[in-house]
Amino acid sequence: MKSIQREHLAGLLERWSERYKVFAPCRQGQGECIFDRFDEETFTLDYRKPHLPPKAEYLPQSEVLFEVRNGEYRAPMPEGDRLFFGIRACDMMGLRQASHFMNRDVVDPYYRSRNEGAVTVVMACKGPQNETCFCTTTGSGPVSSQGFDLQLYDFGDRFLVEAGSPRGNALLEEDMFDAVDAIWAQGAIQTFRDEASRAIPVVPAVSEAMEMLRNENVSDEVWDYFGTKCIVCGGCAFVCPTCTCFNVTDSVRDRESGVRVRAWDACLYGGFTKEASGHNPRGTQALRLKRRHEHKLRYYSEGDILDGLCGCVGCGRCSDFCPVGIGTLEVVRAISRNTLSP
């Protein structure tokens, strides 16, 4: 366990930037916060829950798998090790679940080259970052329990820094970190965790809904209700840290040149499950929504969820951004109440 002065953090990231591609919370011109390449000018520690998880950095929105130029094949591989600084515990769990899934059955060299050497630095949450946080329910926060390299605890003018891996321990060798009394630090962190967890009440509807889904005890009316108002934007999938579905397409320039690209896809689009015959096993929006939420809450693979509750990490972004209120929170509440009034 070490500590670092708040005022030294930017310098630390500067130093890390010599070895890593550092991604950190940045304040944009009009006030929004995103994860982007570290830049001292825009770097901020006052960022709450960024609108997007750092997913685009581990699975780009679109990515060239290979290109053919004048008959010559070339597969561009991302280079350089990455360091994700300041990600929230929910996003840490999202990254872990996504990586487990993406590396489970086959090696995805593109995904792996981005993430195998990636360093993760979690910023533990003192409490809810907004009203949709429910990480205490999904077992993913407000503090990470494992899988990270470093985790920072905000104590005002300084941060306690916990290592979660040998690589994290090595990073703590930097002279910018100060030694702290281990026993005192353990106690301080324990208090931090307890207080933070208490500040984010558990949402019982999540486990109730999971139970009802397992027991096939959910009326189709729930899905019909949501299916009628879904506008099929796919936004819930794009803001979700654990949604990693993509579509692969070829763009042919001429006989000798072209690119193969993969891009984010969403299970709420009809074409996602439509078969070559024209048949679609998820032929209505209600069925597609049912499948999406069942995948998160019921049909996840036990091995992929690691130490979390399910395939949802409780970041609440789908509830933050769905224009018509079809986030996980709204869905589980509708299921557990078994009534449709909002």
Binding site: Q30, I231, V261, P323, G325
Partner: protein, 540 residues
């Protein structure tokens, strides 16, 4: 645009998108809002859930129909009759806003005498809408505290488009639902900057800010601003007028920017003929569109992500967007291309950046006077009118007083579609758009996931009609009008009423504008895309 300008003095959405969240009632007509303005559509759905009332007037059973308290499925092209019928009931039952009408409007007696002819029974005959629904809609709209009318191309794309708009304006004024927050007459503009293009004088009769080209003072003002003499005071041609003039040989050269008339204009076969008659055709676009293929010169332009500049959205809000990528190949920003063309034509334009251009807009356009680059850079946009730098912008128009002074009732009589079905062409074709594609598909059909979602043209036909004609789902059908013929797969759906066919203009494989009727509104010049007569048969 022309209709609202005549009634109120300003041709734009009277209120703002955020105000949807506080309205009590919505009268939505001629807009498939969830498909074409999905974020506004979402607000309507949310409004329904918080208890607002939704009246939908649309011949098709669109997604919003599932949320509507009253769905008026009027016959296509009978909008004036429908709205006059609603006003007839409101006046008859004396639930109009008498105080508002007296204080803020003129021409009420004229309105009363026209509307008087549209008794509920007559209107039921013309529109096919049940009298009880008509009465319920009239009462709900008139008595709502805050009621918004939303419309789009389903109102405007008719030979009676301007009449339809004026009639919407009449209804709003009659009930006092304009000039207040969360009310008004709100045309939803279809493109991110079509309001901006109009505001900047992309119309045949005005300079920026709707300053008339025929006004001597305005002419002098722009001659001074641009240091030139002899600007024309003559009103120019509309797009439909240009195509006709080209066909006659009166128009020799055409410079098309970001538009694909080969697919977007009615009666495409004649458009192609007209364009090939031109001596010189220039097309400036981001892709080689169907129109660009015919051009003598193609000027490659930068896409939205490759340039910095402002857009004016449907609620009159000017927003600044920054360049994210360099344009590919030899593509340039539109303003750079125009400056270079102008320089070579002997009039160098002294702009170094979009900020320079906005500076000039601020100087010569009163309603944009305070919408400066400096302010846009630090905020989320400003709504015109915004005459000076200390003005906060205007969320809703016509507060206390209409732009033109008194609001003018401009009553119209119902006129049928220019081409109605007969025994040979026995179906009515109405055209529109789907969620996944934009306009002629120049951009969206190049986006793999959007093209996957909607890869081919479909023709919507009612189950009863399909059965009678032996057409099965996905069967290839041939649609024929007096102007042309296309083939596409049938989609059997009760979304369309009986004897109505719906299709879109997104697909070059079956370009629906080969069929449409090139007649247009006499004032606005907008073609009647929403109704023409066709016949349909199953392909062997």
């Amino acid at each position: 645009m022309a209709g609202l300008a005549a009634a109120f003095g300003s041709g734009a959405m009277t209120n703002s998108i955020n105000e949807v969240d506080d309205a009590d009632l919505f009268f939505v007509t001629g807009t498939n809002t969830t498909a074409q303005h999905p974020l506004i559509g979402s607000r309507l759905i949310n409004a329904k859930e918080r208890g607002a009332t939704l009246i939908l007037a649309d011949p098709r059973h669109i997604q919003l129909a599932d949320f509507a308290d009253i769905h008026l499925r009027h016959n296509i092209g009978t909008d004036v009759a429908l709205l006059n019928g609603i006003m007839n009931i409101i006046i008859e039952e004396d639930i109009y806003d008498r105080e508002y009408v007296e204080r803020r409007t003129e021409n009420f007696e004229q309105l009363r005498s026209v509307v008087n002819r549209y008794s509920p029974r007559v209107v039921e005959q013309i529109t096919g809408v049940d009298v009880r629904d008509l009465e319920a809609a009239a009462r709900a709209y008139a008595t709502a505290e805050k009621a918004m009318i939303l419309y789009a191309m389903g109102i405007t794309q008719h030979t009676t488009g301007t009449d339809n708009v004026k009639t919407c304006a009449n209804l709003a004024m009659l009930t006092g639902h304009v000039g207040k927050p969360s009310t008004g007459v709100n045309p939803l503009r279809g493109q991110n900057n079509v309001q901006g293009a109009c505001d900047m004088g992309g119309l045949p009769n005005v300079y920026s800010g709707y300053q008339q080209v025929s006004s001597e003072d305005v002419k002098k003002k722009f001659e001074e601003a641009w240091a030139v003499d002899g600007l024309s005071g003559t009103v120019g041609l509309t797009i439909t007028g240009m195509i006709k003039a080209a066909q006659r040989g009166d128009l020799k050269a055409l410079y098309v920017m970001g538009e694909n008339p080969m697919m977007s204009d009615p009666d495409s076969a004649h458009v192609e003929l007209a364009l090939s008659t031109l001596e010189f055709l220039v097309v400036q676009d981001i892709f080689l569109s169907e129109t660009a293929r015919l051009a003598d010169v193609v000027l490659p332009a930068a896409s939205f992500a490759e340039k910095t500049g402002t857009y004016t959205n449907t609620e009159r809000k000017v927003q600044l967007a920054f360049k994210a990528l360099d344009p590919p190949g030899s593509a340039w920003d539109d303003w750079e291309i125009i400056c270079e063309v102008s320089r070579r034509a002997g009039y160098p334009m002294a702009y170094d950046s979009p900020a320079d251009i906005l500076d000039e807009i601020n100087r010569v356009t009163p309603s944009y006077g305070g919408i400066t680059y400096r302010r846009l850079k630090i905020g989320y946009g400003l709504q015109w009118p915004c005459p000076s730098e200390d003005h906060p912008g205007t969320p809703y128009l016509h507060k206390e007083r209409f732009t033109r002074g008194l609001g003018s009732f401009l009553p119209c009589d119902f006129k049928p579609l220019a081409e109605v079905p007969d025994s040979e062409y026995d179906f009515l074709l109405t055209t529109g758009r789907i969620y996944y594609h934009f306009h002629t598909g120049t951009m969206t059909r190049r986006i793999s996931i959007l093209d996957r979602e909607a890869p081919e043209p479909r023709v919507e036909i009612n189950p009863g009609d399909a059965k009678r004609l032996g057409i099965g789902d996905n069967d290839m059908v041939e649609l024929t009008s007096r102007r042309g013929s296309i083939k596409a797969k049938a989609e059997i759906t009760s979304r369309v009423p009986s004897r109505v066919i719906f299709s879109t203009f997104h697909f070059h494989e079956a370009s629906v504008n080969l069929l449409t009727n090139p007649v247009h509104d006499p004032v606005a010049g907008i073609p009647e895309y929403k109704g023409c007569a066709v016949k349909i048969r199953r392909c062997a």
